[in-house]
């Protein structure tokens, strides 16, 4: 009985697709890692003890009460309407300072919404009154 000649088997892990697998992993990590960027509303607080007299017509009072109702120059206003109203006011008087006053029981969320509206209206001079 003739012995069969054993063929030498080629035993190699196919590495041609390894690069593709690694690429996929790379893309997965690139997509899934969110760079934790800090985002928010920037504001510069008025300096302590630095009181500048402002002419009355250059100031607009914005009051937020405990229930989240907003008064702009003594008139009640919907938060969504702050942006167009303030835009119009700024168009009339570019030197206008918006003074935001809050009630101690006002929610921070409401306050942020109002500041957001003012920022959207491109108001640069925002003052926080106590």
């Amino acid at each position: 009985m003739a012995l069969l000649k054993k063929k030498k088997r080629v035993s190699e892990i196919p590495t041609s697709s390894l690069a593709d697998i690694a690429f996929l992993l790379l893309i997965f990590f690139l997509v899934s890692t969110t760079i934790d960027m800090d985002k928010g509303l920037g504001l510069i607080l008025p300096a302590e003890g630095q009181e500048i007299k402002v002419r009355k017509e250059n100031i607009a009072n914005l009051l937020i009460d405990a229930r989240g109702k907003v008064l702009l120059d003594k008139k009640e206003i919907d938060i969504k309407n702050i942006k167009p109203t303030v835009e119009a006011m700024l168009a009339r008087n570019p030197k206008l300072i918006i003074s935001v006053k809050t009630h101690p029981r006002t929610d921070y969320q409401t306050y942020i919404q109002v500041i957001d509206q003012l920022k959207q209206a491109n108001a640069k001079r925002i003052s926080i009154a106590e």
Binding site: L26, L30, G40, L41, I44, L45, A47, D107
Partner: protein
């Protein structure tokens, strides 16, 4: 004149080391991407539309305010009264300091005005109210 028979040059980019290169890239991204650090308090940030990015993290100091009225700086819970000393020191060390206020949306403005006042006393006037993108 006879032209020499050009022998066909093999032009192939060696791809044997490509997986290694890609793995290096992969490792780089895995190492460099920091998973979210939760050093502060558990807060639900408010949402806003007109948000801007903080350009640098170098000058930023975080101030956490939870809805229970807890205030935390650098992983320590502090009293509102002591904020002026903390931030005065920080501000002296880094005049370009930006205070990123990460407050819960349910925080009352009474506490926030106290914090504002403390920051004003510490002369740390540049603040940034952390907010999420509004949908």
């Amino acid at each position: 004149m006879r032209f020499k028979a050009k022998h066909k040059a093999k032009v192939e980019i060696p791809t044997a080391s490509l997986p290694d290169i890609i793995f290096m890239l992969l490792l780089f991204f895995m190492v460099s991407s920091v998973l979210r650090e939760y050093e502060g308090l558990n807060v639900i940030l408010p949402r806003a539309k007109q948000i801007e990015k903080l350009e640098t993290k170098r000058h930023v100091s975080y101030l956490w305010v939870s809805k229970d009225g807890l205030v935390s700086v650098d992983g320590k819970i502090v009293e509102v009264k002591s904020l002026r000393h903390i931030f005065y020191e920080k501000r002296t060390n880094d005049p370009q300091l930006i205070v990123s206020i990460r407050a819960d949306k349910m925080v009352k403005m009474g506490l926030m005005s106290d914090i504002h006042n403390e920051l004003r006393k510490a002369d740390a006037l540049k603040v940034n109210y952390s907010a999420k993108t509004a949908l």
